[in-house]
Amino acid sequence: MPVVMDADRISRTLARIAHEIVERNKGVDDLALVGVRTRGVPIAKRLARALKEITGHDVPTGALDITLYRDDLMRHAVGPQPQVRRTEIQFSIDNRKILLVDDVLYTGRTTRAALDALIDYGRPKGIQLIVLVDRGHRELPIKADYVGKNLPTSPDESVQVRLLEIDGQDEVVLQGGAA
């Protein structure tokens, strides 16, 4: 069960991404962070803290639940529904640049659902995608703007991101697979 990122590595990576955000957007003026539930939310909050340290400005932060936009809802003839949680975006996304935050980018289907969900809240000036881990195997034409770590995987492996706020510790582990 190899640990591919430990707590220090995660913390340095998020600090680096925060600097990239400031550089690319020439500040944080019209930015807002939206974390995809579940683990995108604490990552978005950490990035908000890092951006505050770098620039002195607060960046509005929200949480997005994509369950009702999943492309596999109702595709099974029968079966229990995935659990829906609350979306909390307390600011207008109109004319803002939205930084969409998720823990792992894999098939791209979660991101597709998140884009559809976001657009229902307004018309952002732009959306940029931030992921802690990009593990490849895309099934849709989606690409991240900020990547914490590119991690080559096989489809039968699984990437577990564990975060202090939810799991009690920070680490990314690679599980399963033929290796």
């Binding site: 109702m74 099974h76 229990p80 829906v84 792992v104 289907r109 559809d116 229902d120 699984s158």
Partner: protein, 326 residues
């Protein structure tokens, strides 16, 4: 979808309703009730968005089959269905073949031949939903059957109470009115006792079912006793259309003895909630000063009804099979 890295966080007691239909609260466990209420919280947020619609039930057809008049419940279901992107169709008795003598079962089988996914049924006969449940493949949602149950009303009542009081366990809930004919009462008794609330029921002795104690509630004909230290006071409509006998002398006398007034309410807790499932008879079971007063959450109940019905529709649309969605 394959969000490979995300385990389910803080696993709730149950994550799905494993039922084909919602016929009554009696069939639900406390964990399932909590799941509906939690899901309704997420659904309530959808109603606050600029675009109040999510694609979850796209391609699903829901028939609202109403054999009794209804404003709130039918409209509430229809809005809930539309917010989930389902295709909806409303059938009211006046315009259907029922007036030509078709039976409920035949009406249902004919509708079913057009392959709807869900049927929301209101009917004046207790057990009508159970009948449809046996003969239909579609999911049946009980929108009130005779004097039996009205489960979505009890769920939206519970949601409204929980929103204010944070939990149901330990609360004193006084339900006052026509206990004999009320399906809202039956569903609420099941729900509130399952969730650990202390339920007092109050009405004229002629309108108290004789065996009501076996449901774990305390009956009384003293309004003052029922209201004392109550966290929630729920008024039930006097259902004149269901009354064939003489249960009490007059509506004016009913109001004098049982009607909820400000002075009666002083015995309740200072943060008491006043609820009524509607339609209200002002000056019969409730005084206007109370209905429109600061403790009233009657319109919150209506608003929450949409969120709760969205939750029920969403949770039942998955079906009953014991397998995890991929």
């Amino acid at each position: 979808m394959t969000p490979a890295s995300t385990e389910v966080d803080r696993k709730p007691a149950v994550t799905a309703l494993r039922h084909k239909d919602l016929l009554g609260i009696v069939d639900l466990t406390p964990e399932e009730i909590a799941l509906v209420l939690d899901t309704a919280e997420a659904m309530k947020e959808v109603g606050t968005r600029p675009i109040k619609k999510v694609p979850a039930l796209r391609g699903k057809t829901v028939v609202n089959l109403f054999f009794e008049p209804s404003t709130r419940t039918r409209t509430s279901f229809e809005i809930a269905e539309k917010r989930l992107s389902a295709d909806t169709l409303n059938i009211a008795i006046g315009t259907s073949s029922v007036v030509k003598g078709e039976t409920l079962a035949d009406t249902a089988l004919n509708l079913e031949a057009m392959a709807p996914d869900m049927i929301v049924l209101r009917h004046s006969s207790s057990g009508a939903c159970h009948l449809l449940s046996r003969i239909c493949r579609s999911a049946i949602i009980n929108a009130g059957d005779g004097m039996h149950e009205h489960p979505t009303q009890a769920l939206l009542d519970a949601f409204t109470i929980r929103e204010r009081k944070k939990q149901l366990a330990g609360l004193k809930v006084a339900i006052i009115g026509d206990l004999l004919h009320s399906r809202v009462l039956r569903s609420n008794i099941h729900l509130l006792t399952k969730m650990g609330a202390k339920v007092w029921v109050c009405g004229p002795p002629t309108l108290i079912p004789t065996d009501i104690r076996k449901f774990g509630v305390t009956p009384t004909s003293s309004v003052d006793e029922a209201v004392t230290d109550a966290d929630v006071v729920m008024l039930l409509r006097i259902q004149l259309e269901r009354m064939e006998g003489a249960y009490f002398p007059s509506l004016r006398e009913y109001f004098r003895v049982f009607g909820m007034t400000e002075s009666r309410l002083r015995r309740a807790k200072p943060d008491v909630m006043i609820m009524h499932p509607g339609p209200m008879n002002r000056g019969v079971e409730i005084a206007s000063e109370v209905a429109d007063g600061p403790y009233s959450v009657i319109l919150d109940q209506v608003a929450n009804g949409v969120a709760v019905r969205m939750a029920v529709l969403y949770l039942l649309a998955g079906g009953a099979e014991h397998e995890d969605a991929a």
